[in-house]
């Protein structure tokens, strides 16, 4: 028996220019109800100026614990970081 409606994940933007951050989840039967529930549950004290709700079963996830090689391509490319490079003395800002 599953009668609480599907699960939606809630993402909130706290201020203009800020990224959306995951806040938690709500149950709702449709989009309209999902945004209203998300507002009532997660923004009772002006925590958000904007929010997203996403059906939880539509999120595709991967984590390093499940697939250790997944994030490996980032491991051997130190030249992507600015600290990799030598600079001549006297350079002030770069």
């Amino acid at each position: 028996m599953e009668n609480q409606g599907p699960l939606w994940e809630v993402f909130i933007q706290s201020k203009p220019g800020q990224p959306y951050k995951h806040a938690g989840s709500v149950h709702a039967y449709d989009k309209e109800m999902a945004v209203e529930n998300a507002r009532d549950v997660y923004t009772r004290r002006n925590e958000g100026i904007s929010l997203w709700v996403v059906p939880a079963d539509q999120i595709v996830a991967v984590s390093s614990s499940e697939s250790s090689s997944f994030f490996e391509p980032a491991d051997d490319k130190v030249y992507r970081h600015p600290t990799f490079y030598d600079l001549p003395e006297g350079v002030k800002q770069m």
Binding site: M1, N3, G5, G24, Y29, D30, D40, R44
Partner: protein, 316 residues
């Protein structure tokens, strides 16, 4: 054999994370007993928030002013919200909201026993906010550092909101102590009835709490029941004295100072027979609280069915 080795390997990774204060997330491997402990603890916590709406809800229509009515409504709405944060965290463990509610209705899941006491008059609303929410905050501040990510995040959110709850309760008590002799008597009567149930909220002594050691080892709990209870007592007695209330314990005595220079108190032990009797269903309101929840859930079934049917129709 390969699975066994694998499990040992996974357990090592898990324990290393716990040791390094790295949060465990829903998709991470975790020992079965860790998951089981969390399922029990977080759902009990969620049910407590929701059942806790009942003793206070009883006073919305009789709040003495518009100001106090609005505050009480906002507080109770928060409690419902806190229940939802916690169900949301509990659901990440692979049990659905429906199952959690069924377990509550079947008596397989518990909620904080303190809500099995009645709120008899307006002073009780003050005592609940000040003492019951105060005890809950003491516990929840500590749980912000719990090892399970979703639980920790729910606790951080809840703690931000709870301090208003405690202050509004204390303000009610303070106003009554500044009032007439009858109001002062009511306030004292309320602390007399709520003091011990509030202390019981921290649970049995550590020595009688079989699950504490695993919970501490895995950092689900960060401080023991007794330690948290002492913290609450030391904090609360001066608050009572400040507004002229007496804690209903003849053995209260200052026995030292902590690092901050605050008093450390000696006190009587809890009446554990009463504690276990209420836990086991024999408190003044156990039946009433659970029946009310079941009735509200059943009476709301048609709303859920309509919403479901409407969604099916509009998504055709």
């Amino acid at each position: 054999m390969e699975t066994l080795e694998n499990t040992e390997e996974l357990l090592k990774v898990f324990e290393a994370k716990i040791d390094a204060e790295i949060k465990i997330e829903p998709r991470d491997w975790m020992p079965g007993d860790y998951r089981k402990h969390l399922i029990r603890q977080i759902s009990q916590h969620a049910h407590s928030e929701v059942i806790g709406m009942q003793p206070e809800g009883n006073w919305i229509s009789r709040a003495p002013s518009l100001r106090s009515k609005k505050i009480l409504l906002a507080k109770i709405q928060d409690e419902g919200g806190h229940g939802l944060y916690l169900y949301s965290a509990a659901e990440t463990l692979g049990v659905s909201r429906d199952e959690y509610i069924q377990w509550l209705h079947a008596g397989k899941a518990k909620y904080a026993s303190v809500f099995n006491y009645p709120a008899l008059n307006w002073a009780d609303i003050g005592a609940i906010g000040w003492l019951v929410d105060g005890a809950a905050i003491t516990n929840q501040v500590s749980l912000q550092r719990t090892s399970y990510g979703p639980y920790s995040r729910a606790m951080i959110r809840i703690c931000k909101e709870e301090s208003f709850h405690q202050r509004q309760g204390y303000e009610i008590m303070w106003k009554m102590m500044e009032g007439t002799k009858d109001q002062q008597r009511m306030a004292q009567d309320a602390i007399n009835r709520w003091w011990w149930p509030a202390l019981m909220m921290f649970g049995p002594h550590d020595s009688d709490s079989p699950r504490t050691s695993n919970a501490m080892k895995w950092k689900i709990k960060r401080e023991t029941n007794d330690r948290l209870r002492e913290k609450f007592i030391n904090k609360t007695i001066p608050q009572a004295e400040l507004i002229g209330l007496k804690v209903p314990d003849p053995n209260i005595k200052v026995i030292g100072k902590d690092q901050m220079g605050e008093n450390i108190y000696e006190h009587s032990d809890i009446n554990w027979d009463e504690f276990w009797s209420v836990v086991n269903g024999n408190g003044p309101c156990n039946e009433q609280r659970l029946n009310h929840h079941i009735r509200a859930h059943e009476e709301g079934a048609w709303v859920r069915e309509c919403a479901q049917a409407y969604n099916a129709k509009t998504n055709q």
